[in-house]
Symmetry: C2
Protein backbone atom coordinates (compact mmCIF):
# COMPACT_ATOMS: atom_id res chain seq x y z
CA UNK A 1 0.00 0.00 0.00
CA UNK A 2 1.47 3.37 -1.01
CA UNK A 3 2.12 5.59 1.95
CA UNK A 4 2.67 9.26 2.62
CA UNK A 5 6.46 9.88 2.73
CA UNK A 6 6.29 11.93 5.92
CA UNK A 7 4.58 9.01 7.61
CA UNK A 8 7.12 6.45 6.40
CA UNK A 9 10.00 8.60 7.64
CA UNK A 10 8.84 8.67 11.22
CA UNK A 11 7.26 5.22 11.27
CA UNK A 12 10.04 3.89 13.50
CA UNK A 13 8.88 6.27 16.20
CA UNK A 14 5.69 4.25 16.51
CA UNK A 15 7.69 1.35 17.83
CA UNK A 16 9.24 3.25 20.71
CA UNK A 17 8.00 1.92 24.03
CA UNK A 18 8.67 2.80 27.63
CA UNK A 19 11.07 0.64 29.56
CA UNK A 20 10.20 0.98 33.21
CA UNK A 21 12.17 -0.99 35.80
CA UNK A 22 10.24 -4.21 36.45
CA UNK A 23 10.73 -5.99 39.77
CA UNK A 24 9.89 -9.63 40.55
CA UNK A 25 6.91 -8.35 42.51
CA UNK A 26 5.67 -6.36 39.49
CA UNK A 27 5.90 -9.46 37.33
CA UNK A 28 3.98 -11.59 39.84
CA UNK A 29 1.36 -8.85 40.25
CA UNK A 30 1.07 -8.66 36.47
CA UNK A 31 0.47 -12.41 36.25
CA UNK A 32 -2.17 -12.37 38.97
CA UNK A 33 -4.00 -9.49 37.30
CA UNK A 34 -3.86 -11.34 33.98
CA UNK A 35 -5.46 -14.47 35.48
CA UNK A 36 -8.07 -12.36 37.28
CA UNK A 37 -8.84 -10.60 33.98
CA UNK A 38 -9.55 -13.95 32.34
CA UNK A 39 -11.96 -14.91 35.13
CA UNK A 40 -13.80 -11.57 34.89
CA UNK A 41 -13.91 -11.98 31.12
CA UNK A 42 -15.44 -15.47 31.32
CA UNK A 43 -17.84 -15.02 34.24
CA UNK A 44 -18.36 -11.25 34.35
CA UNK A 45 -17.46 -9.20 37.43
CA UNK A 46 -20.78 -9.94 39.17
CA UNK A 47 -20.60 -13.66 38.38
CA UNK A 48 -16.98 -14.20 39.46
CA UNK A 49 -16.32 -15.16 43.09
CA UNK A 50 -13.14 -14.68 45.14
CA UNK A 51 -12.98 -18.51 45.13
CA UNK A 52 -12.88 -18.50 41.28
CA UNK A 53 -10.15 -15.87 41.42
CA UNK A 54 -8.17 -17.88 43.97
CA UNK A 55 -8.34 -20.98 41.74
CA UNK A 56 -7.26 -19.08 38.62
CA UNK A 57 -4.43 -17.09 40.20
CA UNK A 58 -3.07 -20.01 42.23
CA UNK A 59 -3.24 -17.93 45.43
CA UNK A 60 -4.98 -19.16 48.55
CA UNK A 61 -8.29 -17.47 49.34
CA UNK A 62 -6.72 -16.06 52.52
CA UNK A 63 -3.72 -14.78 50.57
CA UNK A 64 -5.98 -13.16 47.99
CA UNK A 65 -7.92 -11.30 50.70
CA UNK A 66 -4.69 -10.36 52.46
CA UNK A 67 -3.04 -8.81 49.39
CA UNK A 68 -6.04 -7.48 47.48
CA UNK A 69 -8.72 -6.98 50.16
CA UNK A 70 -11.66 -7.37 47.76
CA UNK A 71 -12.85 -8.34 44.29
CA UNK A 72 -13.48 -4.66 43.62
CA UNK A 73 -9.87 -3.76 44.40
CA UNK A 74 -8.68 -6.43 41.96
CA UNK A 75 -10.84 -4.94 39.21
CA UNK A 76 -9.52 -1.49 40.13
CA UNK A 77 -5.91 -2.72 39.86
CA UNK A 78 -6.61 -4.32 36.46
CA UNK A 79 -8.11 -1.11 35.11
CA UNK A 80 -5.37 1.09 36.60
CA UNK A 81 -2.59 -1.18 35.32
CA UNK A 82 -4.08 -1.28 31.81
CA UNK A 83 -4.77 2.42 31.36
CA UNK A 84 -1.47 3.50 32.94
CA UNK A 85 0.49 1.17 30.65
CA UNK A 86 -1.31 2.42 27.53
CA UNK A 87 -1.01 6.08 28.54
CA UNK A 88 2.72 5.90 29.32
CA UNK A 89 3.51 4.08 26.11
CA UNK A 90 1.43 6.57 24.09
CA UNK A 91 3.11 9.61 25.61
CA UNK A 92 6.58 8.19 24.91
CA UNK A 93 5.67 7.45 21.29
CA UNK A 94 4.14 10.88 20.66
CA UNK A 95 7.09 12.79 22.10
CA UNK A 96 9.19 13.01 18.93
CA UNK A 97 6.40 13.29 16.32
CA UNK A 98 4.77 16.52 15.19
CA UNK A 99 2.83 15.59 12.02
CA UNK A 100 -0.88 15.58 13.02
CA UNK A 101 -1.92 12.63 10.78
CA UNK A 102 1.05 10.60 11.99
CA UNK A 103 0.18 11.34 15.62
CA UNK A 104 -3.34 9.97 15.12
CA UNK A 105 -1.88 6.86 13.46
CA UNK A 106 0.35 6.41 16.52
CA UNK A 107 -2.63 6.70 18.85
CA UNK A 108 -4.49 3.99 16.92
CA UNK A 109 -1.49 1.65 16.69
CA UNK A 110 -0.63 2.04 20.38
CA UNK A 111 -4.20 1.17 21.40
CA UNK A 112 -4.54 -1.76 18.99
CA UNK A 113 -1.12 -3.22 19.81
CA UNK A 114 -2.03 -3.43 23.47
CA UNK A 115 -5.52 -4.87 23.05
CA UNK A 116 -4.83 -7.22 20.15
CA UNK A 117 -2.59 -9.16 22.53
CA UNK A 118 -4.99 -8.65 25.42
CA UNK A 119 -8.53 -9.11 24.12
CA UNK A 120 -9.97 -10.34 27.48
CA UNK A 121 -8.65 -7.14 29.05
CA UNK A 122 -10.51 -4.99 26.55
CA UNK A 123 -13.72 -6.93 27.15
CA UNK A 124 -13.45 -6.54 30.93
CA UNK A 125 -12.71 -2.82 30.63
CA UNK A 126 -15.68 -2.32 28.31
CA UNK A 127 -18.14 -4.40 30.31
CA UNK A 128 -17.15 -3.44 33.84
CA UNK A 129 -16.99 0.25 33.15
CA UNK A 130 -19.40 1.04 35.99
CA UNK A 131 -18.60 -1.77 38.46
CA UNK A 132 -16.18 0.32 40.53
CA UNK A 133 -17.54 2.63 43.20
CA UNK A 134 -16.48 5.89 44.86
CA UNK A 135 -12.71 6.39 45.24
CA UNK A 136 -11.73 3.54 42.92
CA UNK A 137 -14.15 4.72 40.28
CA UNK A 138 -13.08 8.37 40.32
CA UNK A 139 -9.37 7.57 40.06
CA UNK A 140 -9.94 5.35 37.00
CA UNK A 141 -12.29 7.93 35.51
CA UNK A 142 -9.48 10.47 35.85
CA UNK A 143 -7.00 8.30 33.92
CA UNK A 144 -9.61 7.60 31.22
CA UNK A 145 -10.38 11.30 30.96
CA UNK A 146 -6.70 12.03 30.36
CA UNK A 147 -6.61 9.39 27.60
CA UNK A 148 -9.75 10.83 25.99
CA UNK A 149 -8.32 14.35 26.17
CA UNK A 150 -5.10 13.32 24.47
CA UNK A 151 -7.10 11.87 21.58
CA UNK A 152 -9.32 14.97 21.43
CA UNK A 153 -6.15 17.11 21.41
CA UNK A 154 -4.78 15.13 18.45
CA UNK A 155 -8.01 15.73 16.53
CA UNK A 156 -8.04 19.46 17.42
CA UNK A 157 -4.44 19.70 16.25
CA UNK A 158 -5.34 18.06 12.90
CA UNK A 159 -8.32 20.38 12.52
CA UNK A 160 -6.28 23.54 13.13
CA UNK A 161 -3.08 22.65 11.26
CA UNK A 162 -4.97 21.49 8.15
CA UNK A 163 -7.68 24.16 8.32
CA UNK A 164 -10.45 21.54 8.49
CA UNK A 165 -13.99 21.84 9.81
CA UNK A 166 -15.36 18.70 11.46
CA UNK A 167 -16.97 17.61 14.72
CA UNK A 168 -13.98 16.48 16.81
CA UNK A 169 -16.18 14.79 19.45
CA UNK A 170 -17.90 12.58 16.88
CA UNK A 171 -14.52 11.79 15.33
CA UNK A 172 -12.95 10.80 18.69
CA UNK A 173 -15.94 8.74 19.81
CA UNK A 174 -16.24 7.01 16.42
CA UNK A 175 -12.56 6.16 16.61
CA UNK A 176 -12.90 4.79 20.16
CA UNK A 177 -15.82 2.65 18.99
CA UNK A 178 -13.80 1.24 16.10
CA UNK A 179 -10.75 0.35 18.16
CA UNK A 180 -12.59 -0.86 21.28
CA UNK A 181 -15.07 -3.08 19.43
CA UNK A 182 -12.27 -5.30 18.12
CA UNK A 183 -12.59 -7.62 21.14
CA UNK A 184 -15.79 -8.95 19.53
CA UNK A 185 -14.32 -9.84 16.13
CA UNK A 186 -10.55 -9.54 15.74
CA UNK A 187 -8.90 -12.66 14.36
CA UNK A 188 -5.15 -12.37 13.60
CA UNK A 189 -5.29 -14.98 10.80
CA UNK A 190 -7.99 -13.03 8.95
CA UNK A 191 -7.27 -9.47 10.00
CA UNK A 192 -3.47 -9.40 10.16
CA UNK A 193 -1.42 -8.03 13.04
CA UNK A 194 -2.02 -4.83 14.99
CA UNK A 195 0.11 -2.79 12.59
CA UNK A 196 -1.85 -3.90 9.50
CA UNK A 197 -5.16 -3.27 11.24
CA UNK A 198 -3.99 0.13 12.53
CA UNK A 199 -2.97 1.06 8.98
CA UNK A 200 -6.43 0.24 7.57
CA UNK A 201 -8.36 1.86 10.44
CA UNK A 202 -6.10 4.90 10.42
CA UNK A 203 -6.65 5.38 6.69
CA UNK A 204 -10.40 5.01 7.10
CA UNK A 205 -10.63 7.58 9.88
CA UNK A 206 -8.13 10.08 8.46
CA UNK A 207 -9.55 9.97 4.94
CA UNK A 208 -13.03 10.16 6.43
CA UNK A 209 -12.14 13.27 8.43
CA UNK A 210 -10.05 15.06 5.82
CA UNK A 211 -12.39 14.44 2.87
CA UNK A 212 -15.59 14.71 4.91
CA UNK A 213 -14.58 18.10 6.29
CA UNK A 214 -16.84 21.01 5.42
CA UNK A 215 -13.99 23.48 5.00
CA UNK A 216 -11.57 22.98 2.08
CA UNK A 217 -7.99 22.08 2.87
CA UNK A 218 -5.30 24.77 2.91
CA UNK A 219 -3.25 22.93 0.32
CA UNK A 220 -3.83 19.92 -1.87
CA UNK A 221 -0.74 18.07 -0.64
CA UNK A 222 -2.35 16.26 2.28
CA UNK A 223 -5.35 15.34 0.17
CA UNK A 224 -3.18 13.84 -2.55
CA UNK A 225 -0.98 12.08 -0.05
CA UNK A 226 -3.90 10.60 1.81
CA UNK A 227 -5.97 9.47 -1.16
CA UNK A 228 -4.23 6.18 -1.85
CA UNK A 229 -2.45 5.38 1.38
CA UNK B 1 -23.79 20.95 5.38
CA UNK B 2 -23.73 20.62 1.59
CA UNK B 3 -25.05 17.27 0.45
CA UNK B 4 -24.85 15.09 -2.63
CA UNK B 5 -28.00 15.76 -4.73
CA UNK B 6 -28.67 12.06 -5.35
CA UNK B 7 -28.72 11.51 -1.60
CA UNK B 8 -31.09 14.41 -0.91
CA UNK B 9 -33.52 13.17 -3.56
CA UNK B 10 -34.09 9.82 -1.93
CA UNK B 11 -33.71 10.97 1.66
CA UNK B 12 -37.43 10.50 2.33
CA UNK B 13 -36.95 6.78 1.77
CA UNK B 14 -34.87 6.64 4.93
CA UNK B 15 -37.92 7.48 6.96
CA UNK B 16 -39.99 4.55 5.70
CA UNK B 17 -40.72 2.12 8.49
CA UNK B 18 -42.66 -1.13 8.73
CA UNK B 19 -46.13 -1.05 10.19
CA UNK B 20 -46.87 -4.52 11.53
CA UNK B 21 -50.21 -5.17 13.21
CA UNK B 22 -49.69 -4.70 16.97
CA UNK B 23 -52.00 -6.50 19.39
CA UNK B 24 -52.61 -5.64 23.07
CA UNK B 25 -50.51 -8.69 23.95
CA UNK B 26 -47.61 -7.45 21.76
CA UNK B 27 -47.72 -4.09 23.52
CA UNK B 28 -47.71 -5.67 26.98
CA UNK B 29 -44.89 -8.03 25.98
CA UNK B 30 -42.95 -5.06 24.63
CA UNK B 31 -43.36 -3.21 27.95
CA UNK B 32 -42.24 -6.23 29.98
CA UNK B 33 -39.17 -6.71 27.80
CA UNK B 34 -38.37 -3.00 28.12
CA UNK B 35 -38.47 -3.18 31.94
CA UNK B 36 -36.43 -6.39 31.92
CA UNK B 37 -33.87 -4.71 29.65
CA UNK B 38 -33.46 -1.89 32.18
CA UNK B 39 -32.83 -4.40 34.98
CA UNK B 40 -30.24 -6.31 32.91
CA UNK B 41 -28.63 -2.99 31.99
CA UNK B 42 -28.35 -1.88 35.64
CA UNK B 43 -27.42 -5.19 37.29
CA UNK B 44 -26.01 -7.23 34.43
CA UNK B 45 -27.57 -10.55 33.37
CA UNK B 46 -25.66 -12.52 36.03
CA UNK B 47 -26.44 -10.02 38.78
CA UNK B 48 -30.18 -9.70 38.03
CA UNK B 49 -32.57 -12.08 39.81
CA UNK B 50 -36.06 -13.19 38.75
CA UNK B 51 -37.21 -11.29 41.87
CA UNK B 52 -35.63 -8.06 40.51
CA UNK B 53 -37.34 -8.70 37.18
CA UNK B 54 -40.69 -9.35 38.88
CA UNK B 55 -40.41 -6.04 40.76
CA UNK B 56 -39.49 -4.05 37.64
CA UNK B 57 -42.09 -5.57 35.30
CA UNK B 58 -44.91 -5.50 37.85
CA UNK B 59 -45.60 -9.22 37.30
CA UNK B 60 -45.77 -11.70 40.15
CA UNK B 61 -42.81 -14.05 40.45
CA UNK B 62 -45.15 -16.97 39.68
CA UNK B 63 -46.55 -15.18 36.64
CA UNK B 64 -43.06 -14.39 35.38
CA UNK B 65 -42.05 -18.07 35.60
CA UNK B 66 -45.35 -19.13 34.04
CA UNK B 67 -45.06 -16.87 30.97
CA UNK B 68 -41.29 -16.72 30.50
CA UNK B 69 -39.99 -19.91 32.16
CA UNK B 70 -36.53 -18.50 32.95
CA UNK B 71 -34.28 -15.47 33.05
CA UNK B 72 -32.46 -16.86 30.02
CA UNK B 73 -35.67 -16.99 27.98
CA UNK B 74 -36.35 -13.34 28.87
CA UNK B 75 -32.91 -12.36 27.59
CA UNK B 76 -33.53 -14.43 24.46
CA UNK B 77 -36.85 -12.64 23.84
CA UNK B 78 -35.22 -9.22 24.32
CA UNK B 79 -32.49 -10.05 21.80
CA UNK B 80 -34.90 -11.61 19.30
CA UNK B 81 -37.37 -8.72 19.56
CA UNK B 82 -34.60 -6.13 19.06
CA UNK B 83 -32.83 -7.74 16.12
CA UNK B 84 -36.07 -8.68 14.35
CA UNK B 85 -37.40 -5.13 14.65
CA UNK B 86 -34.17 -3.61 13.30
CA UNK B 87 -33.89 -6.13 10.47
CA UNK B 88 -37.47 -5.70 9.27
CA UNK B 89 -37.27 -1.93 9.35
CA UNK B 90 -33.93 -2.01 7.48
CA UNK B 91 -35.23 -4.30 4.72
CA UNK B 92 -38.28 -2.10 4.18
CA UNK B 93 -36.15 1.03 3.94
CA UNK B 94 -33.63 -0.50 1.53
CA UNK B 95 -36.29 -1.84 -0.86
CA UNK B 96 -36.69 1.26 -3.02
CA UNK B 97 -33.09 2.55 -2.95
CA UNK B 98 -30.32 1.48 -5.34
CA UNK B 99 -27.55 4.07 -4.83
CA UNK B 100 -24.78 2.26 -2.87
CA UNK B 101 -23.70 5.26 -0.76
CA UNK B 102 -27.31 6.04 0.08
CA UNK B 103 -27.93 2.42 1.09
CA UNK B 104 -25.05 2.56 3.59
CA UNK B 105 -26.42 5.83 4.96
CA UNK B 106 -29.78 4.09 5.43
CA UNK B 107 -28.14 1.22 7.28
CA UNK B 108 -26.43 3.64 9.69
CA UNK B 109 -29.54 5.76 10.26
CA UNK B 110 -31.76 2.71 10.83
CA UNK B 111 -29.34 1.33 13.45
CA UNK B 112 -28.80 4.67 15.23
CA UNK B 113 -32.50 5.61 15.25
CA UNK B 114 -33.34 2.40 17.09
CA UNK B 115 -30.54 2.52 19.63
CA UNK B 116 -30.53 6.26 20.29
CA UNK B 117 -34.01 5.80 21.75
CA UNK B 118 -33.05 2.51 23.38
CA UNK B 119 -29.55 2.88 24.85
CA UNK B 120 -30.06 0.31 27.66
CA UNK B 121 -31.01 -2.22 24.97
CA UNK B 122 -27.76 -1.67 23.10
CA UNK B 123 -25.76 -2.07 26.31
CA UNK B 124 -27.52 -5.34 27.18
CA UNK B 125 -27.04 -6.69 23.65
CA UNK B 126 -23.34 -5.81 23.72
CA UNK B 127 -22.65 -7.11 27.20
CA UNK B 128 -24.78 -10.27 27.21
CA UNK B 129 -23.62 -11.42 23.83
CA UNK B 130 -22.56 -14.81 25.18
CA UNK B 131 -25.03 -15.31 28.04
CA UNK B 132 -27.46 -17.41 25.96
CA UNK B 133 -26.81 -21.13 25.55
CA UNK B 134 -27.59 -23.78 22.95
CA UNK B 135 -30.86 -23.36 21.03
CA UNK B 136 -31.49 -19.79 22.18
CA UNK B 137 -27.96 -18.80 21.33
CA UNK B 138 -27.91 -20.29 17.84
CA UNK B 139 -31.22 -18.70 16.82
CA UNK B 140 -30.02 -15.24 17.87
CA UNK B 141 -26.65 -15.86 16.20
CA UNK B 142 -28.54 -16.62 12.98
CA UNK B 143 -30.43 -13.31 13.07
CA UNK B 144 -27.22 -11.41 13.84
CA UNK B 145 -25.43 -13.18 10.98
CA UNK B 146 -28.16 -12.05 8.59
CA UNK B 147 -27.76 -8.46 9.81
CA UNK B 148 -23.97 -8.64 9.40
CA UNK B 149 -24.33 -10.11 5.90
CA UNK B 150 -26.66 -7.34 4.79
CA UNK B 151 -24.06 -4.76 5.85
CA UNK B 152 -21.27 -6.73 4.17
CA UNK B 153 -23.43 -6.90 1.02
CA UNK B 154 -23.87 -3.11 1.07
CA UNK B 155 -20.07 -2.67 1.28
CA UNK B 156 -19.44 -5.22 -1.50
CA UNK B 157 -21.98 -3.39 -3.66
CA UNK B 158 -20.21 -0.05 -3.07
CA UNK B 159 -16.86 -1.64 -3.87
CA UNK B 160 -18.05 -3.15 -7.16
CA UNK B 161 -20.24 -0.30 -8.44
CA UNK B 162 -17.59 2.35 -7.72
CA UNK B 163 -14.60 0.20 -8.71
CA UNK B 164 -12.98 0.59 -5.29
CA UNK B 165 -10.42 -1.61 -3.56
CA UNK B 166 -10.78 -1.83 0.21
CA UNK B 167 -11.08 -4.44 2.95
CA UNK B 168 -14.86 -4.85 3.32
CA UNK B 169 -14.55 -6.82 6.59
CA UNK B 170 -12.54 -4.06 8.29
CA UNK B 171 -15.01 -1.48 6.95
CA UNK B 172 -18.06 -3.40 8.25
CA UNK B 173 -16.52 -4.13 11.66
CA UNK B 174 -15.27 -0.55 12.05
CA UNK B 175 -18.75 0.69 11.24
CA UNK B 176 -20.35 -1.69 13.76
CA UNK B 177 -17.88 -0.47 16.40
CA UNK B 178 -18.77 3.16 15.69
CA UNK B 179 -22.52 2.69 15.85
CA UNK B 180 -22.61 0.19 18.72
CA UNK B 181 -20.26 2.13 20.99
CA UNK B 182 -22.72 5.06 21.19
CA UNK B 183 -24.36 3.58 24.31
CA UNK B 184 -21.24 4.70 26.24
CA UNK B 185 -21.29 8.36 25.17
CA UNK B 186 -24.30 9.54 23.16
CA UNK B 187 -25.96 12.65 24.58
CA UNK B 188 -28.78 14.14 22.45
CA UNK B 189 -28.16 17.69 23.72
CA UNK B 190 -24.52 17.58 22.62
CA UNK B 191 -24.63 15.16 19.69
CA UNK B 192 -27.96 16.01 18.08
CA UNK B 193 -30.61 13.50 17.05
CA UNK B 194 -30.08 10.17 15.31
CA UNK B 195 -30.34 11.75 11.87
CA UNK B 196 -27.61 14.34 12.55
CA UNK B 197 -25.34 11.70 14.07
CA UNK B 198 -25.99 9.29 11.17
CA UNK B 199 -25.10 12.06 8.72
CA UNK B 200 -21.73 12.71 10.41
CA UNK B 201 -20.87 9.04 10.90
CA UNK B 202 -22.00 8.18 7.37
CA UNK B 203 -19.79 10.91 5.93
CA UNK B 204 -16.83 9.76 7.99
CA UNK B 205 -17.16 6.14 6.90
CA UNK B 206 -18.02 6.77 3.24
CA UNK B 207 -15.30 9.37 2.73
CA UNK B 208 -12.88 7.13 4.58
CA UNK B 209 -13.68 4.18 2.31
CA UNK B 210 -13.88 6.03 -1.00
CA UNK B 211 -10.77 8.17 -0.49
CA UNK B 212 -8.80 5.51 1.35
CA UNK B 213 -9.38 2.97 -1.41
CA UNK B 214 -6.26 1.67 -3.15
CA UNK B 215 -7.84 1.60 -6.61
CA UNK B 216 -8.84 4.93 -8.22
CA UNK B 217 -12.50 5.66 -8.75
CA UNK B 218 -14.09 5.07 -12.17
CA UNK B 219 -15.23 8.70 -12.39
CA UNK B 220 -14.59 11.80 -10.36
CA UNK B 221 -18.29 12.49 -9.75
CA UNK B 222 -18.60 10.44 -6.56
CA UNK B 223 -15.37 11.86 -5.24
CA UNK B 224 -16.48 15.44 -5.83
CA UNK B 225 -19.92 14.81 -4.43
CA UNK B 226 -18.62 13.16 -1.32
CA UNK B 227 -15.85 15.61 -0.52
CA UNK B 228 -17.89 18.29 1.27
CA UNK B 229 -21.03 16.49 2.30
Amino acid sequence: MATQPAVRASRSSRRTSTHLPVTRFDRRLGQILEHATEVFCLKGYEGASMRDLSRATGMSLAGLYHYFQSKERLLYLIQKHTFTTILESLKARLESVTDPEERIHIFILNHLEYFVSNQPGLKVLSHEDESLKNGFSSEIAGIKREYYRICLGLMEDLRQKRGLDFNTRTAVMSLFGMINWIYTWYNPRVDGNAEALAERMGNLVLNGIVHGSKRPLKGQSVLTNLRHR
